[in-house]
Symmetry: C2
C-alpha cells in the first residue's frame, strides 16, 4: 500500500502513513490534537480539519455545511489520504493553551476554587519529616541503628512502623561520618538525621533517613485528574501552604473525549499502555514546570495525592478499565493501595508515595468522595446535594446520617460536544450571553476576550435561558419561528432553523456562530439527565428538593454559571439562590485536605464506605423522571415556581 506524508499546520508536525490510515489516526501519531470527543466513531463531528493541499477520500457528512465542504473542511476521522497532504487544524479544533494557568491569579482561582484556600485542618500530613537527634550507642546501650531510629520516630509518630531493606542499608551512613584514614576508614557518630515517614495502609513506613536536618524541605503534589484537564498544586507539607499550581489538558483527549471512548481505545493493541503513558507524561510535565518554577528538586516531593473519576484512576494506575464499560460495571479496585510513585514512572522522591482517593463505584470516583469531604456535607446536620456537572454528572445527597450517590450519562453538551458551534472553555469561547428582549440585541463575552469562535457550556446555558425568557424558544425547545420580530436572527439550513448568535463577519470562525434546534434538544437531554438523577435520588429517600438545604456545585465549570439561568432551564432545582454554593475544584480541594491530614485520609475512606450507590440504569423511576425533565425547565412547571412566575410576568 502506498505511503503518504501528512503535514499538520499550525503545529508543523509531519507523519508518514499508508492510504488506509484516517487523518485522525495520523494526527494522533503526529501528536497533534484535532478536536473530536468520540475517538473516531464519527458521531461528534468535532474533528474538523481543513485540507489545504493534496487529495483525501472519505464519506461526506451531515456535520459540515456545503460552504465548509467547499472550503476544504473534512472530518479527520472520516477521511484517508490519497496523496501527500497539507492539513490545517482550525482554531475551534485546537486544544488551546493552558500553559499560563496557575500563574495567573484569576485562572488559578477558577481551577482551584476552595482548593486554593489553606484548608482548615490540623496539619498532620500523610508524609511527614522529623529531624532526629540520637544519642550515641555505648557499651551499656548498644541498640542497633534501626531500632534506635525506630524508637526515636515512635516518640513522634506512635504506632506500628516498618522500614524497607534499602533504608536499613543506608542507616550507618546516615547516622555517622566515615573518615578515611591512611589504610582504611573510621566511623564517627553524628546522630543528626531526618526521617521521612509515610502512611501505607494501616502502617507507617520509614521512607527515607537522611543525614542532617532537611525537615524544612517536604512537598506534596495534589492532583485532580479530570477527563479533560489535569490540575496540580504544589503544597508545603509542613505548613499547608500552596506554593504554586499548574494545569494542562489531558492528552488522553486524542483517544476520545469521554471515558467510554477511551476505554474503547484501550481495547486496541497497545491502547491501554498508550493511555497510561499519556497521563503519566502529562503529570510529569506538570511536575517539571512546578519544580522549575519553585526551584526545588523532584526529590523534595515526597508524595502525590490523586483524585479523579474511576476510569481516570484506572488509566493512571494501569488497571484494566474495560469492565467499567460493561454491565455490571465493575472496577478493578475502588481503594487502590498506596504505593511508590516510581512504580508507575512518576519521578518524585524515588521512595515517595502515590495515594489515590477512594472511589464509591465505577461512576462515582475519587473526585466525588473528595468533593463530599471538601464540602463537609457528610458532617453536617443539613441535607445537602452535591452536583458535579461534566460529561458524566455525579450527584450525592446526604448529611451526617446518610449518603447516597448516583451518576448520569449527561453527554458532552456542556463541554462543547454534540452542539453545532460548541467548544471547550478555551480562548474565544463565548461564556456569557445576554439577549435584550426589547430589540433582541445580543451581548456576549468570551474567554480571554478573543474573537468568538464557539459556545462553551456556560454560554450555551445563557443562550438558551435568555432565548426562553425572551420567548424565542418554547418550553419544548422548539424555536418560535412564528414570532416575526426575530426573523432577522434566523437562518435556514436544510429546512431547519438556526439562531444566529454571532454573524460570520464578527466571528473568529469565519462563519456564523449559530444555535440549532437540535442543539437545544441536546442541551435539554443533558440537563434533563442531571436533574432527573438528582430528582430520583431525592425521591428515593422519600424527600423533595424543598427539603434540600444546600446545593453544592462542583467543577471549574461551575464558577461562571448564572444560577438563575441554570434554574430557568431546569438544570438546577428551583431552590432559593442563596442555598446554591459553587465550591470550585472540590476534587483538588479534597486531595489537598487528605494530603495534609491523616484524619481526613481516614474520613474520606469512611465517606466512601458510607456512600450507597444507586444504579440509575435499573431504576424504573429514573427514565420517567428523565422524560419529564426533558422540557424547559420541566413538564411540571409547578416544580419551578420562580420560573413559572417569570413566564407568567412575560
Amino acid at each position: 500500500m502506498p505511503e503518504f506524508r501528512v503535514r499538520f499546520l499550525p503545529d508543523e508536525q509531519e507523519v508518514v502513513v499508508d492510504g488506509s490510515t484516517t487523518l485522525l489516526e495520523a494526527a494522533r501519531q503526529a501528536n497533534v490534537y484535532t478536536g473530536g470527543i468520540c475517538a473516531g466513531e464519527g458521531i461528534c463531528g468535532k474533528c474538523r480539519i481543513i485540507v489545504r493541499q493534496g487529495e483525501v477520500e472519505g464519506e461526506s457528512t451531515d456535520f459540515l455545511t456545503r460552504d465548509e465542504i467547499r472550503h476544504g473542511y473534512v472530518l479527520a476521522c472520516k477521511v484517508v489520504p490519497k496523496s501527500d497532504v497539507l492539513i490545517e487544524v482550525p482554531p475551534e479544533s485546537r486544544l488551546g493553551g493552558y500553559e499560563g494557568l496557575g500563574r495567573d491569579d484569576e485562572q488559578f482561582r477558577d481551577f482551584a476554587g476552595r482548593a486554593a484556600q489553606p484548608p482548615a485542618v490540623e496539619i498532620a500530613p500523610l508524609v511527614e519529616k522529623f529531624a532526629l537527634q540520637l544519642a550515641p550507642p555505648t557499651l551499656d546501650d548498644p541498640t542497633a541503628d534501626q531500632e534506635r531510629v525506630l524508637e526515636a520516630i515512635g516518640k513522634r509518630r506512635p504506632g506500628p512502623m516498618q522500614m524497607g531493606l534499602k533504608i536499613a542499608r543506608e542507616l550507618p551512613f546516615a547516622l555517622r561520618r566515615r573518615v578515611v584514614g591512611r589504610s582504611a576508614w573510621n566511623w564517627h557518630w553524628d546522630g543528626r538525621a531526618t526521617a521521612t515517614i509515610g502512611l501505607r495502609g494501616d502502617l507507617n513506613e520509614v521512607l527515607c533517613i537522611e543525614p542532617g536536618d532537611t525537615s524544612g524541605r517536604n512537598l506534596g503534589l495534589a492532583l485532580d485528574l479530570g477527563t479533560t484537564t489535569i490540575v496540580a498544586h504544589l503544597v508545603d507539607l509542613a505548613t499547608g501552604t500552596t506554593h504554586d499550581a499548574a494545569a494542562k489538558y489531558n492528552s488522553q483527549i486524542k483517544f476520545g473525549g469521554d471515558v467510554i471512548s477511551r476505554i474503547n481505545s484501550a481495547r486496541q493493541p497497545g491502547g491501554a499502555e498508550a493511555l497510561h503513558q499519556a497521563v503519566i507524561r502529562d503529570i510529569d510535565t506538570l511536575i517539571e514546570d512546578l519544580a522549575n518554577r519553585a526551584h526545588i528538586a523532584r526529590g523534595d516531593i515526597s508524595c502525590v495525592v490523586a483524585a479523579g473519576n474511576t476510569a481516570m484512576m484506572h488509566f493512571l494506575l494501569g488497571l484494566e478499565a474495560d469492565l467499567i464499560r460493561i454491565s455490571p460495571f465493575v472496577p478493578v479496585a475502588t481503594s487502590p493501595p498506596p504505593f511508590r510513585a516510581a512504580e508507575i514512572g512518576l519521578r518524585i522522591n524515588p521512595r515517595g508515595i502515590l495515594y489515590t482517593l477512594p472511589m464509591a463505584g465505577s461512576y462515582v470516583g475519587g473526585d466525588i468522595t473528595a468533593g463530599v469531604l471538601a464540602s463537609g456535607m457528610h458532617r453536617s446536620e443539613e441535607l445537602a446535594l452535591l452536583l458535579d456537572i461534566g460529561t458524566n454528572g455525579e450527584v450525592v445527597l446526604g448529611n451526617r446520617d446518610f449518603l447516597v450517590a448516583c451518576s448520569a450519562s449527561a453527554g458532552p453538551a456542556f463541554e462543547g460536544g454534540s452542539i453545532s458551534c460548541g467548544m471547550r472553555a478555551t480562548a474565544g469561547a463565548i461564556d456569557s450571553v445576554r439577549i435584550r428582549p426589547r430589540d433582541l440585541t445580543i451581548s456576549t463575552t468570551t474567554i480571554d476576550n478573543c474573537p468568538p469562535v464557539g459556545l462553551c457550556g456556560t454560554g450555551l446555558i445563557d443562550t438558551i435561558a435568555e432565548m426562553l425568557l425572551a420567548g424565542l424558544v418554547d418550553r419544548s425547545g422548539q424555536f418560535r419561528t412564528d414570532r416575526v420580530t426575530w426573523r432577522f436572527r434566523l437562518a435556514d439550513y436544510d429546512h431547519r432553523s438556526q439562531f444566529i448568535l454571532v454573524a460570520a463577519e464578527a466571528s473568529g470562525r469565519g462563519r456564523d456562530i449559530v444555535l440549532t434546534e437540535s442543539d437545544v434538544e441536546n442541551l435539554i437531554r443533558t440537563k434533563g439527565a442531571i436533574y432527573a438523577a438528582a430528582d430520583s435520588l431525592v425521591q428515593s429517600i422519600g424527600l423533595c428538593f424543598a427539603d434540600v438545604q444546600k446545593v453544592y456545585i462542583a467543577g471549574a465549570f461551575g464558577n461562571r454559571m448564572d444560577i438563575a439561568h441554570c434554574i430557568a432551564i431546569g438544570l438546577l432545582p428551583d431552590v432559593p439562590v442563596e442555598r446554591v454554593e459553587f465550591i470550585g475544584n472540590s476534587s483538588l480541594a479534597g486531595a489537598k485536605l487528605v494530603m495534609l491530614s491523616r484524619r481526613m485520609f481516614e474520613e474520606i475512606h469512611q465517606i466512601r464506605d458510607r456512600i450507597t450507590y444507586r444504579e440509575l440504569m435499573v431504576d424504573p423511576n429514573y427514565m420517567e423522571q428523565f422524560t419529564s425533565a426533558c422540557f424547559l425547565p420541566h413538564t411540571d412547571l409547578a416544580r419551578f415556581p420562580s420560573v413559572a412566575r417569570q413566564h407568567a410576568m412575560r
Copy 2:
C-alpha cells in the same frame, strides 16, 4: 609487573596473577578453597598448600615442620609466585564434600537435630494459600475485584490486609477468562482463584492471586546460615512436612574462617558485595538442588526463613557489618523487616518473602533466639542453660521469667583452628578417641571411616579428656613427661613435646598426627571462655550451676560429644549427665517453627525483646572466672565433684 599462571590441583583450576598476588588471593580468584581461617593474616597456619612445580617467594614460618618445607609445603597467604606454578591443595586443607548431605539419613539427622522432626505446633504458616470461590458481580453487587477478593480473604485470615499494585493489575485476569471473539474479546467470570497471603510486619499482604486452585503447592525454605555451613530444609507449608534437606559449606570461608576476619575482608574495596554475593550463590545452589530433587518450580517456594548469627545476617542482607567489629558493637538492624526475597537476588516466587529471625545483639544472633524457641526454655518453669558452642560461644540462661545471654570469643579450636593437626569435621577427621590407661593403646574413629588426617572438635575433647584421665597431662595442661611409661608416644620438636596420636604410617596425612602442649593450651582457653561465660551469667543473677535444671547443647557439633568428657575437661559444668540434652541444629528448628506458625513468629520476637544481653568485655568478674577456668577442669576442683572423685580414684 610480570604475570604468572597458577594452577591448582586436584580442582584443575587455573588463574593468571601478577607477582605481588599471594597464592591465597590467587586461590580465591580461582574459587579454590585452600583452608585457613584468618583470611590471610598469617596467624592460623591452616592454608597449607604444596608447590609441585615452579618457584614461589615468601617468609618461612613456624607453622610448618622442616620436613614439610622440604616436601614443598608453604602457607598460601605468605607466598607469591615467581614463575608459573602448579599447586596441590593437600587433603587437610580441602573443603570436603557435603554434596550428599541431606540425602543420607544419618547426616540429615546430624545437621538437623530437632529440626528434622515435625514441629509440635498448630500449622498457621507465615505465608498461606487459600482457594477462593467468589460469587459473580451483579448490578446489585458491583463490588470491585480488589474489594471482593479482600473480603473473601478477610473471612479466612482476619485483620488489616494490603495488596500491591501489580497484584491489583492482575485481578481481572485471575478472576475471569477473556474469550477472544471476531473483533474483540469478551469477559467470562470464573471466580475460582488462589490467594497467597504473607505476614509483613504487622500487616497481612496479598502476595499473589492465581486463577484456579493451587493451594496444594506452597513450599517454604528454612535456612540455617552458619559461619561454616549453610543448611536448608524444604518444607510443605500446608502440612509442616519436611520434604528434603541440603547443606553446603559457606563459601565465604575463603574470606576468613570467623566472622571478624570476614568483616575485615568486607572493608576491602568490593569486599562487602563479594561476601553478600557468596552467600546468595550458596543459597541459590541449595534451592536449585532441592527444587530439582523435589521436581518443583522455584515459584512454588513462597517464603524463606533464615536464622544465623548477626554478622551472617548482615552479609545476607547486604547491611554494613563493620560496626559489629568495633566497640560498642552496634548492628545495623536486629529485627530486619520482612521483604521480597527477590530484592537480594534469591530466586523463589518473585513476590515471595524473606524473613530473618530477630537477633538480640551483635553477638547473640537469630540462631540463638531460634535455639531458645526450639528448646522451649522460655516457657518452662525450670532454669535452663543453652550453650551454642562454636567459634563464638553463645550462652543463654533463663526460664519463663527471665532470659539473659552473653557471648564469648571462644576461638576456633573446636573447628580445627589453632590446633596443630586440627581440622573441620569432614571425612578423615578423628571424631572419637579412647586411651586404655593400662597400656596406652589408642583407638580412634574417623568420619566416613577414612584414613585419619587430623582432629576435629570432638576428637580433640576426647583426646585431652582421655589423656587427663590416663594421667598423661596434669590439670594445668602440662604433659606429664616425667611418666616414663608413655615416652614411646612422645616426639620432640623444637624442644617441645608432641603426643603422637596416629603415627605417620597409619595416617592419611603422610606424617604423624600429634597433639602439642600448645594445642592443649588453646583448648583450655577455648573451653575456659565458654565455661566462664556460662559461669558469669549464672553468678550474675546470684545462682550457681547446681540450680540449673537443664543444659541444652545446640549445634551439629554437639551430637557426637561425650558429655562425661566435656565435664572432665571443664567445658560443661558438673551437672548430672541426664540434665544435658543435645538439641542439634536448633537454629534450623527454630526457623522452621517460625515459618509454620505465626504464633511462633510473635513468640520469637518476644524472646528477643526479653533477652538481656550482658557484655562480658565490661564484666570484671568474667576475666577472673576465665582465669580460674583455664585449668582442667577448673582451678577449683570442688566445682567438679564427679571429676574430683575420678581423680581421687586414680
